[in-house]
Symmetry: C2
């Protein structure tokens, strides 16, 4: 079940090896060890990735760049941390990883067959894929937590709608199975704030709200709202 960020993530457009870190690489007997210098990238979003790494020394920063230029710092990685775990599941990096100082990494070898998103395969493969999905979802939520209320709700409704579609159910008319309070705690909002947001989205003509029954009226409008970065001095919704 892929995650669908409401804002598209862009890969770097610069040449991937412009900081020619590969010139400085060298191997040791304990697998492919590598030195990465400050402000050089170990990985860029979208780059091919073959295996995760163990950070041996130094500090990395992993981050996402969104199409509107916003940067989401995912984490700082220090010695002992495992990075690039998406290599267990897919063949391209999902975030960029840059060295904040002189770093040392060791490549880790993977001895489990690719955990592909297919329904076939061993339970272990499914589980590893499930773990990665959890990471993606948490990452997306981390990003959503900085967006204004209406964007957050719009993003959630779109995501839910998409999940409905993937399961062969109606994407534009469904029942939210959780209480307002649960959804509010999920979105990190006060219940009252969530309720007001439902009212705004409804009065804007984007969705129809009848208690837990939701109808998606204007998908494009919802997408436009969800994709808006914060603080663009655009009224959040009509009747805001």
């Amino acid at each position: 079940m892929p995650v669908h960020p409401t804002r598209s993530i862009i890969a770097h457009s610069e040449p991937h090896f412009s900081d020619n870190w590969h010139d400085r690489c060298h191997s040791t007997d304990t697998g492919a060890a590598r030195i990465i210098h400050r402000s050089q990238h170990l990985l860029r979003a979208g780059d091919p990735i073959e295996h995760p790494w163990l950070v041996v020394a130094g500090t990395f920063k992993s981050y996402l760049l969104y199409a509107d230029g916003e940067e989401q710092v995912l984490d700082f990685h220090r010695p002992g941390d495992i990075i690039g775990v998406e290599a267990m599941v897919q063949e391209s990096g999902h975030c960029s990883i840059v060295a904040l100082d002189t770093c040392n990494v060791r490549a880790l070898s993977v001895d489990v067959p690719d955990a592909h998103p297919t329904q076939t395969g061993s339970d272990t493969q499914k589980i590893i894929y499930g773990m990665y999905q959890t990471i993606l979802r948490l990452t997306e939520r981390l990003h959503m937590s900085v967006e204004p209320t209406d964007q957050r709700l719009a993003s959630y409704l779109l995501e839910f709608s998409e999940a409905q579609r993937r399961r062969g159910l109606k994407p534009d008319a469904f029942r939210l199975p959780m209480r307002r309070r649960d959804l509010a705690l999920y979105l990190s909002l006060a219940t009252e704030t969530l309720s007001r947001s439902f009212t705004r989205l409804s009065k804007s003509g984007l969705v129809a709200v009848d208690n837990h029954e939701i109808g998606i009226i204007d998908v494009e409008g919802l997408r436009a709202l969800a994709g808006q970065p914060k603080n663009q001095n655009i009224p959040r919704c009509a009747n805001g």
Copy 2:
């Protein structure tokens, strides 16, 4: 590298089987399938867990309860989702999972040796453990993102200090390797807000700040600050 939540997570104190869902369990030929009824728990934080599950039908809510009574909803899980992945790494559930309606789950079998946090073991075990660490870190950050600025920074400094200690380095005097901007993006704050928070913590006598060089002066004070839930009508810091 364990994650150290600044607020302790409490397990449920009620009897774990008080809603006697096990009375209604039944198995099928395709592994241990189980029906969970509304508001019954599949798992409670701290309960023994043997394997992850695949959600076949219904909706689950996973959440954490903090010692101050606050609830953090982690996710809603719908058919196709894999839940309880911590069974790959440890023997107890890290969150509670409750059914929002009538649910159906299938137990998944694990055929990889336990991925324990030890430094020994295969790379694959290390990677699975690393994935789980990533999930824990993201979960903790999700929770931090609802806390006020000073709590967030205090939590981060304590976590960094603890990581220093674990690596045999000074826990009370260290250099933050990242720029203010990076840390601000990590904590989901404006750079100015982070800067002001450093100033407040410094003037409160909790830490010594000299650009990137940090000294922890009052660990207990920092802990008290970090552990404070939001909105208790306590002044955030002296000189707030």
